[in-house]
């Protein structure tokens, strides 16, 4: 990156896996938010790997409380800053995994957004509970094999599509909701920056491929992330006050098969009888995205 690249405020030396998506997500989120930021981090890989007491990778004030309460803790941080007259100078961001954001922490997050707290929530969506060993979340895509939705003789893996989390956050009346991907750092940094500058509860949903959980080489994190966007399985868009205001176009969408073939979690689709049909269903999702978001 150029010398104009913003600084990040998370140091190396954490204990994440090589090529860890969560580390990228945190790094880019902080590059967008800047140094005058308080970070709220729910339980998950990022929290565990970045703060082995007495060490810490965080160069900004950081708090972890529990797996399911980041939305509420961030509400309290924001309210306290207001009460103490410090809010104008300090930003609050929460960075949480798909499990804490979309499943167990959804109630607290919904409450925080409904109350209109001025903070930015960044979901780093690695599409499963990685910290406990790759169990399904409501962000796990259709047909992915996880340890709680394993592919087997009578199963193609996860039987349900991903929950449409950005739509849920838009429904809260958030002034700014955007999807991004760690495969596009500049896009992510820009969107986080924009989100933190907007007053009110804003939401960034970042796709974040996990080499360990998805089964690909540790050098390929960003490559796989880009492939998700290029196959149109991960549309990137911005929504302001409920309207789509920007979409990242994909000129020549690649077949989903390329993306699926690169990951162990979809391996069974290429060996099991009926796998082809399943891949067609996944292609249909990409095709729907192309139409719905006007990706071409």
């Amino acid at each position: 990156m150029s010398k104009n690249t913003p600084q990040t405020y998370i140091t190396s030396g954490h204990s994440g896996c090589a090529g860890c998506c969560d580390a990228f997500a945190a790094k880019f989120a902080l590059m967008g938010a800047g140094p005058n930021t308080i970070v709220v981090n729910p339980t998950g890989c990022l929290e565990v790997m970045s703060t082995p007491f007495p060490y810490s990778s965080w160069q900004v004030p950081w708090i972890h409380s529990l797996f399911e309460n980041a939305g509420a803790v961030a509400s309290g941080v924001e309210a306290a800053l207001k009460a103490l007259g410090k809010k104008d100078d300090i930003k609050v961001i929460s960075i949480g995994g798909d499990g804490s954001t979309m499943d167990i922490g959804l109630g607290a997050l919904s409450g925080a957004f409904e109350r209109g707290h001025d903070f930015t929530y960044v979901c780093m969506d690695n599409e499963a509970y990685m910290n406990t060993g790759v169990q399904r979340s409501s962000g796990t895509p259709f047909d992915a094999s996880t340890t709680t939705t394993p592919a087997g003789k009578v199963s193609f893996g996860n039987p349900r599509p991903k929950k449409n989390m950005p739509a849920i956050m838009v429904a809260h009346g958030s002034p700014y909701v955007a999807t991004t991907s760690i495969g596009f750092p500049r896009d992510m940094i820009r969107k986080v920056k924009k989100a933190t500058e907007i007053v009110g509860p804003t939401y960034i949903h970042s796709h974040a491929p996990c080499p360990t959980g998805w089964g690909f080489d540790t050098s390929k994190t960003l490559e796989i992330a880009k492939l998700a966007v290029e196959t149109c399985l991960w549309p990137m868009y911005e929504m302001e006050n409920g309207e789509i205001t920007q979409v990242r176009k994909v000129k020549d969408p690649r077949p989903v098969e390329e993306y699926l073939r690169a990951q162990k979690r979809f391996k069974h689709l290429f060996t099991m009888e009926g796998g082809e049909e399943e891949i067609k269903k996944i292609q249909a999702t990409a095709d729907w995205n192309i139409k719905h978001f006007g990706l071409q």
Partner: protein
């Protein structure tokens, strides 16, 4: 006789109003709570104070559930705000996981618990099961006897919890309905006196971009145990602090409700009745009758359940011939209430060898009357003569329901 100048200051208000007023004059920066009977009037009164602009520099967060109420206060306290909440029963149980987290991060959140029974079966009336279920969460727990004490204990608890050597959250446990909904003459805490008594909250560690710190880190086996030890040490330091703060409060406000424990007719008592909360009033009435007849009965009020004042309890009951403990809770599977179990345990390694018996009473708001207390005293007298026959029991069960 109540001093006439003192009486002049008294107003008759609902317990919940008086408690909300106390919370207000403690100058909280963030309040977050969720309504649940019988705590509701406390949060409603605070909401009205907010609506009338009576609590300066304060944000009130109307959360979607108790779990978020306590979580929001975790965030707020870490930023350096003085925080307040109130809850009870299911709400307190819903907070359970975050209660450990608050104390583990050493955030001095203060909360009023309007004690209530827990479900199932659903029951909204008073007992102590909700708070007793939280006894190992690492919070200070002070149980109060009347509305005035519920009011007066709030600023005391802030002062204890926010001491930089302690930094442990705490709850003031007051009996639901019996104290929260009663109209009683009280003196509402004066703002100027409270300001004199309670300094502003000045924690050493806060979340601040100027000096970034990590809160709530990951601790492996090589460091976790020391965190637990230091937390326990902080609780031990709270023991003398609870005593000294009660005395400081008396100097400024002229009222004393006891420190860790408080004796009534205790000095020469042969039979000692021990308990916590509003039931002590009834017990003291009965004891007055016994004393009038020349019988040596006394009362030991336990105000601090966490930290547990082992030494003070040993000292207070060492000359008794028998001790009877009334618990408004039960640890199912032991047939014992918590105060009973803990009192026995604190005597075992001491030289005090007196019989201790327990009654588990008043579950789900069942009335405990003067006759019940008298019956308990009569049964306890027999223990002095013939030894313990039943160690711990329910009081007056209805056979037809069993």
């Amino acid at each position: 006789m109540i001093d006439p100048t003192y009486r002049k200051k008294m107003v008759v208000v609902e317990g919940s109003y008086a408690v909300a007023h106390s919370a207000k004059v403690c100058r909280p920066n963030v309040i977050s709570a969720y309504p649940i009977t019988p705590q509701t009037h406390i949060v409603e009164n605070l909401s009205q104070f907010m609506a009338d602009g009576e609590i300066p520099n304060c944000e009130y967060i109307n959360v979607e559930a108790e779990f978020s109420a306590i979580s929001a206060l975790i965030g707020a306290s870490a930023v350096g705000a003085r925080t307040y909440s109130a809850t009870t029963s299911q709400g307190l149980l819903l907070m359970h996981e975050a209660l450990f987290n608050t104390s583990g991060m050493r955030l001095p959140v203060v909360m009023t618990v309007a004690n209530r029974a827990v479900s199932a079966p659903i029951n909204i009336w008073n007992d102590h099961q909700d708070a007793i279920a939280q006894r190992d969460t690492g919070w200070i727990q002070l149980y109060v006897e009347d509305v005035q004490e519920a009011c007066d204990t709030l600023p005391q608890l802030y002062k204890i919890a926010e001491d930089n050597d302690i930094m442990v959250p705490g709850m003031v446990c007051m009996d639901g309905f019996i104290l929260s909904h009663v109209y009683e003459p009280v003196i509402l805490l004066e703002q100027d006196l409270t300001d004199n008594f309670l300094p502003t909250f000045q924690p050493e560690d806060i979340l601040d971009p100027e000096d970034p710190k990590t809160f709530g880190a990951f601790a492996a086996p090589d460091t976790y145990e020391e965190f637990r030890y230091l937390h326990e040490q902080a609780m031990q330091k709270a023991l003398p602090k609870i005593e000294s703060v009660a005395k400081e409060f008396e100097e400024i406000f002229g009222r004393y409700h006891g420190g860790l424990v408080d004796g009534y007719m205790l000095d020469d008592a042969e039979i000692v009745i021990m308990s916590m909360g509003s039931i002590l009033g009834t017990i003291k009435d009965v004891v007055d009758e016994y004393r009038a007849r020349g019988e040596k009965v006394g009362v030991l009020k336990v105000r601090s359940f966490r930290p547990f004042p082992k030494e003070q309890i040993r000292e207070a009951i060492k000359n008794a011939h028998v001790v009877v403990i009334l618990d408004k809770n039960i640890s199912i599977g032991t047939n014992e209430g918590a105060l009973f179990t803990e009192t026995k345990s604190c005597l075992y390694n001491s030289k005090i060898r007196i019989p201790v018996v327990g009654y588990t009473v008043g579950h789900g708001g069942r009335d405990i009357r003067v006759e019940d207390i008298a019956k308990i005293i009569e049964e306890t007298k027999k223990v002095i003569k013939s030894g313990i026959e039943v160690e711990s029991q329910f009081l007056s069960l209805k056979e037809e329901l069993l």
